[in-house]
């Protein structure tokens, strides 16, 4: 098919889950599980459409489609553009694919829910995924805002799903307040940009911003970063993340951590690397600072948690920091590593959260201090969890090794050694946190047995197995993935001029960068080994002793009050904006 025809299929990939969402509540009246089956069908349709577009895009071309045929006139675009560049398409494929797996998991685990609940659940999941796919593929600031808000509203309903748990409503309120403020930031920023540059299209904006920037442009940039940072869970905008991921149902937490935080990262990447690329702003420095702080703070908070899902949520904060550090190096290896880590994080974090959700669902226990001995009574789950932990730890042959190695080499190549050491420190703490979790949940012997029998149903087995296999696969054949996915994505991000031109000309190519990952690099192997050893020691130390003072202070700062979290977020907004204006 021609490029134009392929491009015109892109909006259908967004419309398919939306149609499924409209049908699901009605289908649920016939039979509750029918709603999930329709959502699975819709997501697989979307995935198929995206895969049809994949060879052209990952070969280095950008598929652009102007909706309704309203092409740009004399360089100014009124119509909405859908531009599938490798970065966006990778994220869209990830969303659709993992979304389908999650629906399959829900079908087997939560299939016993009532008809109304399940219909609403399926509809909201599809709306969320449609929002994510739309935001990844769009090339228009207003459209990005609209899909951002669609995903946000769907997430509000999904957070407060299990009404019988008191944390659910509380977490729903917190995510509401913080994400609404984030929406304002993005909205205001898009309007400011339109006011000064007169453009809503990415390509048009990128060419228009090559001139010297005015104050309003910098303000807009700051607000964009703040708004998308809230969605991504960067410090100090992360107050909602831990609570929302704890209170949401198992597959929904996996969806949030694995896919929805990526929405913020996609937004940040687009704004900082592709729209503002020609301007001289300290955006990369700001992102590096935010990323490193998030990585450290997330890891430290994860070390002291008692609730398993809350621990994993803080680990998400940490990993998002790592991804942003990778993207902020502006170095081919680093950016490719950041994109790779995005894919990997989606895989292993989904795996871990599905395991945690299964534990909560089957045993009714949420706190690590009450769990234990699951390795013996539930070996399948223990293996899956182990694979996830090994992936985060960056142990070969799993996929974390590859992406972390790429980010490290990117940092070394660009000579940024302070972030490098801090990132290594964060990795050690992360390994300690997850090691402690694995010990307490699985290996620690438990005196009494659980009330329910634990076993894995077929849908669960399939989902968990697929994810674990992908973790292994992405770690074992990094060359292929780099070649096909990560490098094109990095090229699209770093070659922003070509991207902008492609968007305005309804199609174009991007020259490919090539990064090489030396698998048996002794430095990387040494880092992996050393971090595992140190992490294990730290975990052993944490299990024996009391919590050190610094961490207690950190815990006290996260006091659960909405006002305080909002205060931190607003302080963050002001700091980011000031960093740009000064």
């Amino acid at each position: 098919m021609t490029d134009a025809a392929l491009g015109s299929l892109l909006p259908l990939a967004v419309a398919a889950p939306l149609a499924g969402a409209a049908v699901s509540p009605l289908a649920a009246r016939l039979s509750p599980r029918l709603a999930l089956v329709t959502s699975l069908v819709a997501l697989l349709t979307s995935l198929g459409l995206l895969i049809a577009d994949a060879p052209a895009v990952f070969g280095g071309r950008v598929l652009v489609h102007y909706l309704g045929g309203w092409v740009p006139v004399r360089g100014s675009a009124l119509g909405i553009a859908f531009a599938a560049d490798p970065f966006g398409l990778a994220f869209a494929l990830l969303s659709a694919g993992i979304g389908a797996l999650l629906v399959l998991y829900t079908l087997s685990e939560l299939g016993g829910l009532g008809a109304r609940e399940l219909g609403g659940f399926a509809a909201l999941v599809q709306l969320l995924l449609a929002g994510l796919i739309g935001a990844a593929l769009t090339a228009d600031t207003v459209d990005l805002f609209v899909w951002f808000e669609v995903a946000a509203l769907a997430s509000y309903g999904l957070t407060g799903f299990f009404l019988e748990r008191p944390p659910a409503l509380e977490a729903a309120f917190k995510i509401l307040v913080l994400t609404t403020i984030a929406g304002f930031c993005v909205f205001t920023a898009a309007g400011l940009l339109y006011n000064t540059q007169g453009a809503l299209n990415y390509g048009q904006l990128a060419t228009a911003l090559a001139k010297p920037l005015r104050t309003a442009d910098l303000l807009a940039l700051g607000l964009f970063i703040a708004g998308f940072g809230t969605k991504a869970g960067l410090v100090p905008f992360h107050g909602w993340l831990a609570d929302a991921h704890t209170a949401a149902p198992g597959p929904v937490s996996a969806l949030f951590s694995g896919l929805m935080v990526n929405l913020g990262i996609v937004g940040i990447a687009r704004v900082s690397l592709q729209i503002y690329f020609a301007a001289h702003t300290p955006v990369l420095g700001v992102l590096m600072v935010l990323g490193v702080v998030s990585a450290l703070l997330g890891a430290c908070m994860a070390l002291v948690q008692d609730d398993l899902k809350r621990l994993l949520a803080y680990d998400t904060v940490s990993q998002v920091g790592v991804m942003i550090v990778g993207l902020a190096t502006a170095n081919p290896a680093g950016v490719a590593g950041g994109v790779y880590h995005l894919i990997n994080h989606a895989l292993f974090k989904t795996l871990l959260f599905l395991c945690a959700g299964a534990i909560v669902h089957r045993t009714g226990r949420t706190k690590l201090s009450e769990m234990g001995g699951l390795a013996r009574s539930w070996p399948g789950l223990a293996v899956a969890f182990g694979v996830g932990v090994a992936s985060i730890a960056g142990v070969p042959p799993f996929n974390g090794y590859v992406s972390l190695g790429l980010i490290h080499s990117g940092l070394r190549d660009s000579g940024q050694y302070v972030p490098y050491t801090l990132l290594l420190l964060a990795q050690v703490i992360t390994i300690a946190a997850l090691g402690r979790a694995a010990w307490l949940a699985f290996l620690k012997p438990r005196s009494e047995s659980y009330e329910q029998r634990q076993y894995l149903r077929l849908g669960m087995q399939f989902s968990l197995g697929t994810l674990a296999a992908c973790c292994l696969l992405f770690g074992v054949v990094p060359g292929y993935v780099l070649d096909k996915v990560a490098d094109p994505a990095a090229s699209a991000l770093l070659g922003a001029g070509q991207y902008a031109a492609a968007v305005l000309n309804q199609g174009g190519t991007i020259t490919q960068l090539h990064t090489v990952f030396a698998y048996a690099d002794p430095q990387e192997l040494a880092i992996a080994l050393l971090s595992v050893v140190l992490g294990a020691l730290l975990a052993w130390h944490m299990l024996r002793r009391k919590i050190p003072r610094v961490l207690e202070l950190l815990r006290a700062v996260h006091n659960g009050s909405v006002n305080d979290y909002t205060g931190y977020a607003v302080g963050g907004i002001i700091a980011v904006v000031a960093a740009f204006l000064v």
Binding site: L12, S76, G112, A115, G157, F162, E164, P166, I359, H361
Partner: protein, 356 residues
């Protein structure tokens, strides 16, 4: 500190109209044969934004439905329920009844204890149909279902006018395409009739099942309108209908169809949301405190009695048959939360949130 943000907003430009806007008016407008650029931009050229926003509203309505849903039977073991029970006991430790909570519990019990149509009832008050029989100036709260004859007559006159006005907004207005405001007006009509006539008169029409079906079909209509553009014209949201003369009801092709679908979806969606909140029943967390009161201050071992069916008198919707519901109305805020819903909540019983 906060004003730093405020001050920063002052820096703006005073410039000419951007080229994009010119294009909207000079190029696109004649092509759509509409007369109003804002409309044309919303539903036509940038129709995909509005498309996304329609589903945003759908997401909001479904979220509200989920949050306000009544409890349903589930199959299989759900660990979340056990976890929820344990967490509730941690949160609500039955000690220390402070005044606000006492007041809230009293109010809820009082409102729940009034059955709809029974003669007698808990306090041997029968709820009259209209307050016309009561003397003027009798103390609050009104116990009637509907409002006085003055209000009812006014509603009878006003509601059809408003309904036609809403349709006019969509059909003609300044130029075709006022889906959102039309939907809001429909909601206003529904609320007016509800306030004037009471829940019983409106229950046959405002049923969640029916409204949800209509809303989903509105959403489906919108998807179909946009997608057919793909099939027939090669691009999503392209115009594939015949463009009639400017200023008539059918001008604007797909834009008008979109706007009509929008009216259906927004109107029914907002109505569902509002009536769902009004009809929320309290059957998720049974009131352990009331069990304690009834049994004369037992210990904290109310976990065994906290099954949904056997909870205290405030929630019995799971046991009641379809049709009437005695679910308590939305929590009459104990403290100063002077929400406007409390006025309507005290004078009318909650709308039925019954299962389809």
């Amino acid at each position: 500190m906060v004003l730093t943000i405020g001050y920063l907003r002052l820096l703006r430009e005073h410039a000419g109209l951007p080229a994009v806007a010119r294009q909207a008016m000079e190029v696109a407008l004649p092509q759509w044969k509409l007369s109003e650029p804002v409309n044309e931009v919303v539903y036509g050229t940038r129709g995909f934004d509005t498309f996304g926003e329609t589903f945003l509203l759908l997401a909001a309505v479904i979220s509200v439905i989920l949050i306000t849903r009544p409890r349903e039977p589930r199959r299989g073991y759900f660990g979340e329920e056990a976890a929820g029970r344990r967490e509730r006991e941690e949160v609500d430790p039955h000690s220390g009844h402070d005044r606000d909570q006492e007041q809230a519990r009293e109010a809820e019990k009082e409102e729940a204890g009034e059955p709809d149509d029974a003669v007698g009832g808990v306090r041997s008050h029968r709820r009259p149909e209209t307050p016309d029989a009561e003397p003027v100036g009798s103390p609050a709260p009104e116990r009637a279902h509907a409002m006085s004859v003055v209000v009812r007559t006014a509603v009878r006159v006003a509601a059809p006018v408003l309904a036609i006005a809403g349709f006019y907004l969509v059909a003609w207005g300044y130029s075709p395409g006022g889906g959102f405001p039309g939907g809001a007006v429909m909601l206003g009509v529904a609320l007016l009739v509800y306030a004037g006539f009471g829940r019983q008169r409106i229950a046959p029409v405002i049923r969640p099942g029916l409204l949800e079906a209509i809303e989903m079909s509105g959403a489906g209509l919108i998807i179909a309108a946009e997608a057919l553009g793909l099939l027939l014209k090669g691009s999503f949201s392209a115009n594939w209908l015949h463009l009639a003369q400017t200023g008539t009801i059918l001008s604007g092709g797909v834009a008008q169809l979109f706007s009509f679908g929008e009216l259906i979806e927004v109107g029914t969606g907002l109505t569902i949301a509002v009536f769902a909140v009004l009809g929320m029943s309290h059957d998720w967390t049974p009131d352990d405190g009331e069990d304690q009161d009834d049994r004369g201050g037992g210990g904290s071992g109310s976990g065994s009695g906290s099954e949904s069916g056997s909870s205290s008198s405030s929630s019995s919707s799971s046991g009641s048959s379809s049709g009437t519901s005695s679910g308590s109305s939305s929590g009459s805020g104990p403290d100063s939360g002077s929400s406007s819903s409390s006025s309507s909540g005290s004078s009318s019983h909650s709308a039925s949130g019954s299962t389809a």
